[in-house]
């Protein structure tokens, strides 16, 4: 009986040793993985920063102004002027929208909006 207990104890020590060692290795692997991911995140962030800087650089007003001038014939873009503000009833609706349905569109919050199937053509 005693010999058996000793044997069990020895097995337990070996098993626990294996488990502890295994955990240790797994932890180290996890840390290595985290480090790798952190570096990857860092690299991605760096790339994101570069892209953001590039986006801002490409959208700088000087360049946009130049592009507008270059493409004036095609796009005809001009600075915004006060006359471009309009009332909602001045909007020219798409010709295929039947006139009768225009009256269903309401922009006031005080009245309930019409059901979607009534509005959609």
């Amino acid at each position: 009986m005693r010999g058996f207990l000793t044997f069990i104890a020895a097995i337990a020590v070996v098993a626990l040793g294996y488990w502890a060692y295994h955990q240790n290795i797994q932890t180290q692997q996890a840390i290595r993985e985290i480090n790798r991911l952190q570096h990857a995140i860092g690299a991605e962030r760096e790339r994101l920063g570069v892209l953001r800087a590039e986006w801002a650089y490409l959208n700088r007003p000087d360049r946009l102004r130049e592009l507008v001038e270059l493409n004036f014939e095609r796009l005809g873009l001009a600075p915004m002027v006060p006359a471009q503000f309009a009332n909602i009833d001045e909007i020219i609706w798409r010709p295929e929208t039947p006139i009768g349905q225009l009256e269903d569109i309401q922009f006031s919050a005080s009245q309930p909006l019409p059901a979607p199937q009534e509005v959609s053509p």
Binding site: I34, G49, V50, N59, R65, P79, M80, F85
Partner: protein, 595 residues
């Protein structure tokens, strides 16, 4: 296992009895043998246990010893059980405008340095570097390479293309250190507000970036704080409005042949600076050096809107009129004596034209009568005038969050005599920055509560201490509107935005004493829309002159006003301000009601 010895073996006892011997002797003998046997067994066990223990101790000490020797031999390393959630990539926060558009950000580049002792062919390396970088000299480089030093910097930060070219030289002695570079993608836009940055302490693998001017210097500590890396600094500027303003202002400055120009556009309820420009300007990516001689005000680095203090002339008249209204000395239709010239202590005050014997307070402002304003200032008195101007913020540096603000300290006479009172009432003798003027107009016209200008985005109005009553504020706006509809600023009429404002054309003081005859500082301070004030715009042009209708024109009505009107025409739609087409009569309801 040895056999257990029987104490009284029957055979031997019987045999002993037959021989007449005492069988107890046998028993004692056997007992002794048994004891000996037991003792030997115990000793063996104890010995083996001791040996076991010794082995254990040996193993333990061996482990400790081995661990100690590995620790002693290996590189020290921090334990990595705790890992921060986000690695710090950029060390300096971005700066963005009110819509989140990037004004300043960081970019990763390289710094170039040399280990001369590792150079294989110093002559070729020097020639290659001189070919890549225009301002490096081959001979100087070669001399430095052979000077015996083991380390030297070539460049603080180089572009990716240059990095590739240096790589292509294939020289192992040329080394790169990672660098973060401050990048202002919009170039010269808002350059005076952003300021600029430079490298501080440098090491091979990192360098700190320090702000040198503008918000970069003002918020340097916050921008460098690693806790704020992900939080960008949000300014009150609007990039599109700033771009439009700078474009119009630069065009106006060229057209009017001005030496310099400045403009401030401010939300008069929140005190936010929507756009602020000073020309000439510079590129913060390549910040020029400060002037070593001459007037700093001629440097492009000089922020005319914040640092420059000027006598801003007649734009001050509305303050005098507002104070006279506030103190109940006059109402907008009270007649003021405008016979000139007005003589005072050997000094004579006269008007641009003769406006007749008397004018109403509104007409004094509309025609910009110096005499009429000086008469009102006489009624108010110097002491109260000074207190009123102080409450508008015209006596102290503005509270704006720019490192340069203290340079824009107002200049006023140490003895505030009767003559000073009268000249200051129409804007001479007190020098303030255009930003001061915009702040004072905001405080006066927003309903009469004090505002402090801010460059940071904020959403609620500032409800500072009251400066004038709401009624006086409305009366002042009506007078300014009348200046545009009937007075000196007729070019400021922008359809739909009911601009109100006051012109100011102040002669520029001559450093030798007196004033120049032919140099003026033309200013237009305006508010729009006058009936529902939202924004204050101040435009100043330094020494403008333009030939128009066969005459050389310098006054603000011909120079600063058209530029300001164009800025409003461009900026107001961008600000989402809807034009209101009201006929002029109903637009005047405000003034007729208050009269």
């Amino acid at each position: 296992m040895t056999r257990r010895i029987a104490l009284r073996p029957l055979a031997r006892i019987l045999e002993a009895r037959q021989k007449g011997e005492n069988p107890d002797v046998i028993e004692q003998e056997n007992l002794r043998l048994r004891h000996e046997q037991e003792r030997d067994k115990m000793r063996n066990r104890a010995e083996s246990r001791l040996l076991m223990l010794a082995i254990c101790f040996f193993a333990a000490f061996l482990t400790v010893g081995l661990k100690m020797s590995t620790l002693a031999a290996s590189e020290p390393e921090e334990p990595t059980s705790a890992i921060s959630a986000s690695p710090i990539v950029s060390t300096r926060s971005d700066i963005v405008d009110r819509e989140g558009r990037v004004l300043a950000t960081n970019m990763v580049t390289n710094a170039l340095y040399v280990h001369p002792h590792e150079l294989i062919d110093p002559a070729a390396a020097a020639a290659g570097l001189a070919a890549i970088f225009d301002d490096l000299d081959e001979e100087t480089l070669l001399r430095r390479f052979s000077s015996g030093s083991r380390f030297m910097w070539i460049r603080g930060s180089i572009s990716p293309e240059q990095t590739q070219e240096v790589h292509d030289l294939g020289e192992p002695g040329l080394l790169f250190g990672p660098r973060e570079m401050r990048l202002y993608p919009n170039g010269a836009l808002a350059s005076h507000i952003l300021g600029g940055a430079r490298y501080g302490e440098q090491a091979v693998n990192a360098a700190e970036i320090l702000g040198v001017a503008g918000v970069e210097a003002q918020f340097d500590a916050a921008l460098r704080d690693p806790d704020n890396t992900d939080a960008a600094l949000e300014l009150s500027l609007d990039l599109t409005v700033q771009a439009a303003t700078e474009e119009v202002l630069a065009g106006g400055m060229a057209l009017m042949n001005a030496r310099g120009a400045a403009s401030v556009l401010m939300n008069l309820h929140t005190g936010e600076i929507i756009s602020m420009a000073s020309l000439p300007d510079f590129d913060p990516n390549a910040r020029p050096r400060p002037l070593v001689e001459g007037d700093q005000a001629d440097s492009p680095l000089f922020n005319r809107a914040v640092q420059g203090v000027y006598e801003l002339g007649s734009t001050f008249k509305i303050f005098t009129a507002a104070q006279a209204l506030e103190e109940g000395l006059v109402n907008p239709s009270t007649m003021i004596d405008t016979r000139g010239p007005l003589r005072m202590a050997g000094f004579s005050i006269s008007d641009f034209h003769d406006y007749g014997a008397s004018n109403s307070v509104t007409d004094v402002i509309v025609h910009s009568s110096n005499i009429g304003t000086a008469r009102m200032a006489q009624m108010i008195g110097g002491e109260r005038q000074r207190e009123f101007l102080r409450s508008l913020g015209l006596m102290d540096p503005t509270g704006i969050e720019l490192i340069e603000r203290d340079a824009g300290r107002p200049l006023y006479p140490s003895r505030w005599g009767d003559l000073s009172t009268m000249t200051i009432s129409y804007g001479h003798g007190l020098s303030v920055s255009p930003l001061h003027l915009a702040t004072a107009y905001s405080s006066l016209l927003n309903g009469g509560t004090q505002v402090v200008p801010t460059i940071l985005r904020r959403d609620e109005p500032q409800l500072g201490p009251r400066v004038v009553t709401e009624e006086v504020s409305a009366q002042a706006r009506a007078m300014l509107r009348a200046v545009v509809t009937d007075g000196t600023a007729s070019y400021a009429e922008v359809e739909g935005y009911a601009v109100g404002g006051k012109t100011g054309s102040a002669d520029i003081p001559n450093p030798q004493g007196g004033y120049y005859e032919d140099r003026v500082m033309a200013t237009f301070a305006s508010v729009f829309p006058a009936h529902d004030p939202q924004y204050v715009l101040v435009v100043t042009l330094d020494e403008p002159s333009i030939v128009m209708l066969g005459e050389t024109r310098r006054t603000a009505g011909w120079t600063a006003v058209p530029v300001a009107a164009e800025i409003i025409r461009r900026a107001a739609p961008l600000l989402g301000l809807r034009p209101e087409y009201v006929d002029p009569e109903s637009g005047y309801e405000l003034s007729s009601a208050s009269q």
